[in-house]
């Protein structure tokens, strides 16, 4: 079984073809990194995975079932910016996932459920290294800390897939190296499949188990409208990185460089 399958997916906006013929199988617990020049459809790809946009043709399957046509709790996400809620403290930003899950329209929990949510949130905050900052608002946190918070927030809901949209692109190199360590640990310890978009190749090979690239095979100005980007590189990293000890690592689909 594959975690995510792209079955001949095309995305067009009117006459303009952005992506064409995307065929892709992503194994469970893979860390797939998507790289490519700007305008190659990276963001469109991620938006389709999120459910924010629908493929024009083809289908996307999540654990063999068609993807819901709107964002939902099975796919967590961390964006480059605006990922956390500015009006909630760090702790509230993490507990809110549980509150959405268990409560009604007002989105609040009380009593034991509230205490349990708080305890779990504190644990997650500690895991991402934010102990001592629980009661700060995001505006009082540095960029790196905000992204750590966003990770904790996304993990609270235990998503099957974690989508990362250039999450560390705005961070200083030192901070980025620290958060890479955290990201590897999260991927290794948590039962999830990660799909990350980045334009930093070093980051891609540092974190990923598999790196893919989108490219337009025909990129002359007069061709650009009618030919979208295709999957041009698919590199499985060697030696294989395997998440967790009990990981099931069956290989599907194409592997190795493919021109």
């Amino acid at each position: 079984m594959s975690a995510i399958v792209f079955d001949k997916v095309w995305k067009e906006y009117g006459d303009h073809i952005v992506l064409e013929q995307i065929d892709l199988e992503i194994e469970p617990r893979a860390f797939l990194v998507l790289v490519g020049a700007s305008g190659c459809g990276k963001t469109t790809f991620l938006r389709m995975l999120l459910g924010e946009e629908q493929p024009s043709r083809g289908a996307i399957l999540l654990e063999d079932k068609p993807l819901k046509p709107e964002p939902d709790f099975d796919r967590g996400v961390v964006f480059q910016r605006y990922s956390v809620f500015p009006h909630l403290t760090a702790l509230q930003n993490v507990t809110i996932g549980r509150e959405f899950e268990l409560s009604g329209a007002c989105g609040r929990l009380f009593g034991t459920k509230r205490r349990a949510a708080r305890a779990d949130a504190l644990e997650l905050l500690a895991a991402v290294g934010l102990t001592g900052h629980e009661d700060k608002y995001p505006s009082a946190l540095s960029g790196g800390m905000q992204q750590r918070l966003a990770l904790a927030q996304a993990l609270m809901r235990k998503p099957k897939v974690l989508l990362l949209d250039e999450p560390f692109g705005a961070l200083d190199p030192g901070i980025r190296a620290e958060i890479h360590v955290l990201m590897k640990r999260i991927w290794n310890d948590t039962d999830l499949t990660v799909v990350m978009v980045t334009h930093d190749l070093r980051e891609a090979f540092e974190l990923g188990t598999r790196v893919i690239a989108f490219e337009r095979p025909r990129d002359r100005p007069e061709e650009r409208e009618r030919y979208g980007a295709r999957l041009s590189k698919d590199i499985e990293l060697w030696p294989k990185k395997i998440a967790g000890s009990a990981a099931i690592w069956t290989r599907h689909g194409p592997s190795g460089p493919q021109a």
């Binding site: 996400v77 964006f79 990922s83 809620f85 500015p86």
Partner: protein, 272 residues
């Protein structure tokens, strides 16, 4: 040093802030003095003493006919209308604005409608309100509501639209329903912005209140100003105008303090 880099410090800042007020008062005092020297019965620019005397009668002595202390009874009547009007307006705008801003269907249905309605000049509706609702409190409050709520609705809807798409997506990936997104993500972030919008609507609200009171009322600050205008009583009108200004300023200040106290995250988040 360049002018853009000269920043006044604490006491300088206070002094600079007070300066225009002091200049205005001095200019008035000089003008008043010149006119009164020519004609002691001049009513146009009464002396500060004359205004103080008039206010002493209005604020501290009961009106011989009704037994009311007029300044306070007028203030109470006006503030009641104004605050009820603004409260209804803000509450209505919050609900409708969030619905229009958050739900594309509501936006498609009511967005253009509100945009057109907000162009109706509210004062042109005043006669209709008087005809339909009579001359009592309801018509005055309704004028304030009509005059302010449509702009507030548009403003709230725009602010909702400005909430980054990432936040709404994020909330959905955490499993939030539409109602939960409304109550936990949108409403708390809109409240401080609504306070800003209401602050801007305080001026128009007073305008509509005074217009309504001027035409048909038996109490209120606007009513009094237009009543004593018949006697050219500038010694009453000018202090009343200053008092209205002060009230409006205090309301603005109060809302600003409320915003800072109730939404401590807002100032920095807005700057970011």
């Amino acid at each position: 040093m360049r002018a853009i880099n000269l920043r006044p410090s604490g006491s300088w800042r206070l002094g600079l802030a007070l300066l225009p007020f002091v200049v205005l008062l001095i200019a008035y005092a000089i003008g008043s003095h010149i006119r009164l020297a020519e004609n002691p019965n001049d009513k146009l620019l009464p002396s500060f003493a004359a205004m103080g005397d008039a206010m002493y009668h209005y604020a501290l002595q009961p009106d011989p006919r009704t037994g009311d202390y007029l300044l306070w009874s007028d203030t109470a009547a006006s503030l009641k209308r104004l605050l009820i009007g603004l409260a209804i307006s803000a509450g209505f705008a919050l609900v409708v604005g969030v619905l229009i801003g958050l739900l594309p269907i509501m936006g498609a249905m009511f967005g253009p409608f509100v945009a057109v309605l907000s162009m109706v000049p509210p004062l042109a509706l005043l006669p209709i309100l008087f005809i339909v609702m009579g001359l009592g409190e309801a018509s005055k409050i309704t004028l304030i509501v009509i005059g302010t709520t449509l702009k507030l609705i548009r403003d709230v809807a725009l602010r909702v639209g400005e909430i980054p798409r990432e936040q709404l997506i994020k909330a959905q990936t955490l499993g939030a329903s539409t109602a939960q997104i409304g109550s936990r993500v949108v409403l708390p972030q809109i409240m401080p912005r609504l306070i800003d919008s209401v602050r801007l609507e305080i001026g128009p609200a007073w305008l509509f209140l005074i217009a309504a009171e001027a035409i048909a009322a038996d109490s209120g600050l606007g009513y009094r100003i237009f009543l004593v205008r018949r006697y050219l009583s500038m010694d009453v009108i000018l202090p009343y105008v200053a008092w209205i200004t002060l009230l409006a300023f205090l309301m603005d200040l109060g809302l600003r303090l409320l915003q800072r106290k109730a939404y401590p995250w807002f100032e920095k988040a807005r700057a970011a």
